[in-house]
Amino acid sequence: MSDSNATTPTLRPPTAKVPLFSLGRVWTIAASTVTQLVRMKTFYFLLAFALVVVAVGNFNIPTTPAKELSMIKKVSFGTMDLFAWLFAIVSTALLIPRDLEDRTLYTILSKPVRRIEYLVGKLGGVLFVVGVSLLAMYAICAVMIYAREINFVGAEFEAMKADSSYTQEEIAEQLTLIQKQGLRAELGIAVLASFLKASVVAAVTIFLSTFASSSLFTIIVSVLLFLIGHAHTMATNFWLHQSDSNLFVQMLVKVIKILIPNYQLFSFSEGVVQGEAINYAVVSQMGMLTGGYLIVFLLLSLLVFVDKEF
């Protein structure tokens, strides 16, 4: 059999040029990521959250109603924040290795799907689930805060009305004090703060998972980076004070600050929960900073992921 007789198969020309970036493909990957995460029964942690909120809502500490409401808010939003970043780390760290294990990654990448689309889709899916979880947690704690607020306001009003020594003005002031710690629209910004923090955490984790050898490694390193990123400012002050602003320490601090994200900045939900006035300009700047983190870490992930052999 000679080569000249063999018929060489002619390649079919592509019907349409594959676009550089397709939102449709990103959407498909994000949707499949959401399904993947939902199937992992991730939303079960909402049950644990609800239990925490109910438990804290029934603390019986002899304190003022305003203080009790403030405590409920702090625990609820603190737990919400904790769940959000922990969820962002664990789910993101699991996704790429799981796709490798299931061999879904080979199927996806053999199609005309660009790697950046795959990464953006995965991150988008995780962020969607984190966002939905945060909203669900907010709904749970809003119900608890509102119920307690109504309860406290009613009880306080009755008690003050029964005691004839209080004027209408004093009663109104006391009730306003309680309502100030109750359910307010501004608490939505606290939820947004937790979401921004979780977004940056997820972006950093997806970057780590592109070169990590296992999910466990990614989770551990992400948590460590999270703790270091949170302790930046505290540690800087402490070390510089201890070492009398030694040059070596100064340089070390600078390197850490440059390489590791400053997660402490994203903890501004604490101030919002305490009832401080919100500066929307600063909040929008925080949003832009988050956007910057997402873009840069996605590009860095792509740099590692782009010609990785599977």
Binding site: M71, M234, L259, F268, G271, L303
Partner: protein
Amino acid sequence: MKTILQKCPRLVLVIAGLALFGFIREPIEDRLRVRLVEEKLLLPPPGQTAMEQMSQSALMGTLGGLRSLVAVFLTLEAYEHFSNKDWEQLSQTYAVITNLEPNDEEHWVTWIWHIGINATANMEIDDRLPEFERKRRFFAYALEAVDIAERGIKQNPESATIRMQLAEVYREKLKDNCATSRVYGDTIGLPDALPFVERFHGYFMARCEGKEQEAYDYLSGLYRESERNHLPTLIVEIKKLEKFLNIPIPQRIPDADPDKRPQKSNRKKPAPNELPGGLIIP
């Protein structure tokens, strides 16, 4: 670009990218942090004393960005110390709590209340201690509460609630009328000050030796300011001062002394045909 990507090891490129982004974002983040702290949206880093006093779990929580959560759990721990009347431990726990959340006035108020009111009250009744020791500790706790309040005010200069709690310690425990009046005076005009502080400032000034004339002028001013201020206590205090300062009768306030209002007699008015002893003339 493609050549750089092919020739340069990926690790170097990644580190360079991270460093470049770090250099760009660092000044932005520093500015944002300052603004967030100024707006009280972000808590300033806890003091070194607080870091040293924190338990491992509290420290981890703080490093993990859960300062509020840690503060709440420490509040519960403090409540346990309160139940056990362990005032030293309670004070130490609140020192950490207020370092974690220095802008939360409620923590300062509760700390002052526990040490200035509860611990001192406990010293009045604790039979396990000899009398001299109880007295010594009573004053030590009261003065500690004053010190805590001063630190709290320094941290929250606009706080009316901390000042009101401090005034309670001066009023109820140290029986210092001049200091009580001074603290109520400082509270006037603060954002969350309750309306009664204006009157209380005057009432305690009236009981402060050497300040009677000033108190009289102040309270009379309040009396003249509005009819809503014509409250029994205000009238009683003005009456006492009028008597003490020998204010001429025409200049005195027209209200009757509420403490000396004629008491209504329970006895029935005798009928015109009734004789002493209840005998009725037909």
